[in-house]
Subunit: 457 residues, 2 copies
Amino acid sequence: MKIGTERAGNEEQSHTSRYLAQFLVSARLDEMPEALIHEAKRSILNGFATAFAGCSDAAMERLVKTLSGFSGRPQASLTGRKERFDVLTAAFLNAVSTNVFDFDDTHPGTIIHPTAPVSPALFALGEHRPFSGRRLLEAFILGVELECRLGNAISPGHYKRGWHITSTCGVFGAAAATGKILGLDKERMVWALGNASAQSSGLVETLGSMAKSVGVGNAARNGLSAALMAGNGVEGPGRPLEGERGFLKVTSDSPNLPALVENLGSNWELSRNTYKPYPCGVVLNPVIEACLEIANAPDFDASRIQSVTISGHSLLRERADRPTVETGREAQVSAQHAAAVCLLYKASSLNEFSDEAVNRKDVLWLRKKVKVVVDDAAMVGAAHVIAVYTDDTVLEATVKHARGDAEYPLSDRDIEEKLRDLIVYGRSGVDPEPIIDAIWRLDQIKDVSEIMALARL
Amino acid sequence: MKIGTERAGNEEQSHTSRYLAQFLVSARLDEMPEALIHEAKRSILNGFATAFAGCSDAAMERLVKTLSGFSGRPQASLTGRKERFDVLTAAFLNAVSTNVFDFDDTHPGTIIHPTAPVSPALFALGEHRPFSGRRLLEAFILGVELECRLGNAISPGHYKRGWHITSTCGVFGAAAATGKILGLDKERMVWALGNASAQSSGLVETLGSMAKSVGVGNAARNGLSAALMAGNGVEGPGRPLEGERGFLKVTSDSPNLPALVENLGSNWELSRNTYKPYPCGVVLNPVIEACLEIANAPDFDASRIQSVTISGHSLLRERADRPTVETGREAQVSAQHAAAVCLLYKASSLNEFSDEAVNRKDVLWLRKKVKVVVDDAAMVGAAHVIAVYTDDTVLEATVKHARGDAEYPLSDRDIEEKLRDLIVYGRSGVDPEPIIDAIWRLDQIKDVSEIMALARL
C-alpha cells in the first residue's frame, strides 16, 4: 500500500481504520523530517514541565490517594512524586498532572492537548518494557498524528456538542502509540483502535472541575490498555472509526473522512503543535497580553477602572465568558479573571490562577467590571481590550497573535525556562537540568526509563 | 425534599443531578416493596448464572491475561474462576463474564442489561469492605433505577445513534450503587455522577466483537472508581447530567428530563426487568420460538427448505439482520443464524451459538436461505417466520410474546435452572445449590463476601 498519496482514494475512506493501522504499523522514524522529531522533543519537554507543576495539585493528591489502594506492582513512576504504581495507573496519573492546569500543549483548530494522553502512556510502558528514545519518538509522533487527525475529522462540531476532545481523541492516540511500541501487526492495531473506541469518553461539562482530569487520565490509561488487550488477542470491530456506528459517526454529525488520510506521512499534525506561555485556556492568551500591555503603560492605575470590555471571536465568549469563579481551575477559563489579575498584578502565572487568588477582594472587585463581547470580524486568537477609568479615560490594546500561537511560538529556551519555573511551582525539588538535557538527547537514549528515573522522587 | 411526587417541578428538572443524588442518598430498603426486593434477587441470580457461563469465554481469558500483569492486591474474586484481583479489576472482569454472551437481563424499551455493570461493582466492593445483603439489595435497586431512568430519558435516539447503552448508562448505575454503599453525602453523590460522566463510553459498532466487553467491564470499573474518587474529594461539575454540555444533551438530541424524576421512589425500573431464556440479542427471542415451533412440527425436514423469511419490527432488522457471521459472538445478534440452528437442531442454547456452530456446513447452507424483512405493523417483541420447502410447501409460525418477555417472564425456578445449566456450560465445577440458596436469602446475610466465596474457585 502506498502511504502519503496526496489524495486518498475511495478504498482508503471505506476502510479508514485498516488504512490508518497499516500506516501506523509501517511508518518509521528514519523517514520523518528532523524538524518533526525536534518538535516531538519540544512537546515532550513541555509535557514534563506542566506535569512538574500539576504533580502536587489537589486533584492529583486525591486521585493518587484513591488509586493507591487498588494499584498493582510498583512498575512505573510519577513525575515529581515518590509513589510507584502499576503501568496503567501511572499512565493515568501522569496524564492528569500533565493536563490538570491546562498549561500543556495545544493543537490549533481542534484545541486538543496532544501530549497528555500519549507521552505518559509511553513513558509508563517504557519503565515496564524498556525501549529506546528513538522508538519513543516514533511512537509519540504517530500517536499524536492519529489523535489530531481524528480531531480534525470531527471538528468543530464534536467539541461544540460537548465532547472533551483531548480525552475522546487522546485514547486513540495513546492506543496507537503504545500499540506501535508493542509491535502490533495491522489487524491487531485495528483491534487496538476498536478497544479504544469502546473507551472513548470525556465531557466539556466537566471542565473547571477535577472530573476533567478523570477523563484525561483515562485517555492515557485506556489507550494503553486497549493496545495491551489487542496484543493479547482481544478482538475489536473491523471498522471502529468509519463504521456506521463507529466513533466518527456517533460523535460527529458530519465527519470529514478525507481529513484522516490525506497527505498521511507527508503532512504531520505534530509540526503544528503550540505551547502555552500562560496557564489558561489558549483562547485567553491574547486577552492576557492585551491586559498586560495596558497594565504596563506608564502611570496605569487599576483602582481607577470603572469597566473593562474584551472583544474577540465567538469562541472566546463561548469558552471563557465566566464572570463568577470559585476555584483556580475555573479561573483558568475565565476571561474576567484573567483580565482582572493581569491589570492588578501585571502577571499571569499559576500563582494568579490559584484558589487563593480567586477570592482576593481586589480581584473580586475588578472581575465584576469585565465584560466579554463578540466581534464578528475578529480572528480566532486575537483580542481587543478597552479599559475605561471612572473619569472616562480610555485605555486600549489589541493583540493579533499572542505568544505561544503558531505564528509566535515559544523558543526551545522558553520551554526550558517554563520547565524550570514549573518545578519551582510544584515544589518537587527535582533538578531540571538533567531532564532538559536528556529530552534534547532523546534520540540517543537507549532506555527511556532513564528519563523517569530523573523525573521522579 | 419530597421524594416520589407524581410530577416533578421545574426545580427538579433544572437541578436534576442534585435531585437524583438526594434521592439516592436518602432512599431506604425499608420503604421499598417486597416484590421489588425479590426482583433484585432474581436479577442478581440471573447475573451470576450468565457469569458462570461467561467466565471461561475466550474474551474473558484474554482480558484476565492482560489485566493480571497490572492488578493490585488480591482483594476480590471472580465468579467461576480462581484468580484474585484488586477491587476495580474484579468489577471489570465480573461485568465482562456476566454480559459477554448477552445472555443477561434486559430492561425493556432501553435494551439496557442493567445487572452487569452494577452487581459486579457491588460484590467486588463487598469483598474489600464487608457490608450486609440488605445494603447490597438497596444499593443495587438504586443503581439500576438511575441507570435505567437515564436510559429512558435518552431512548431511543441514543442507542440508535450508536451508543452501547448498557455501557454508557451502566457507569452511572455502578457509581450510584457503590456511592450508596460508601455513604456519600448529596454533594459527593453529584461528584460521583460527574466522575462517571467523564468516563461514560461504549459504541454499538463494537457489538459482535470482544471490544464490546471492554466497554461493559469499564462501566462497572469506572462507576466504582467514580464513587471512590468522589469519596476522596475528587470534585465534579454541579450538573453532570442536565448541564448544557452534560451527559444528556451531549449523547441525545432530545433528552426527556421528566423521565428521570417523575414518580421517583414509587415507580421502580427494576420491577420491569426481564431475563433471557436464550443466549441471544433479545430481539431474537420471538424468532427463535417461531422457528422452534416450525421445527417441532410432525415430519418437519430442514433439508427440504428453499427459503426462510422472518418479518418483524424495524428494530429486529436493525439489530439482527446479519447474514454473514464468523464468530459465536456475532451469531448471537444474527437472525439468520438463530433461524438456521433452531430449524436444524431444534435447540437454542450456548452450544448453538459457539464459534464452532457458526462454521458447520449445514448451518452455512441454511443461513444463506434466511431473509429478514420489516413489517410496519409488527410490534417490538413479535416475529413471524415463513419457511418454504423446495416443493413450495409453506410452514409458518407467529410469536407475539416470547418467553422471557415482560408478559411471559421466567419463573424463579427457570432462573435457578438457568444457573445450573450455565455452570455446566462454563465448566467451573462450582456447586450451584449454596449460591442459589444464599441469593434467595440475601436480605438475611450479614456479609456479602460470603456469596463470592461460594461463587469463586
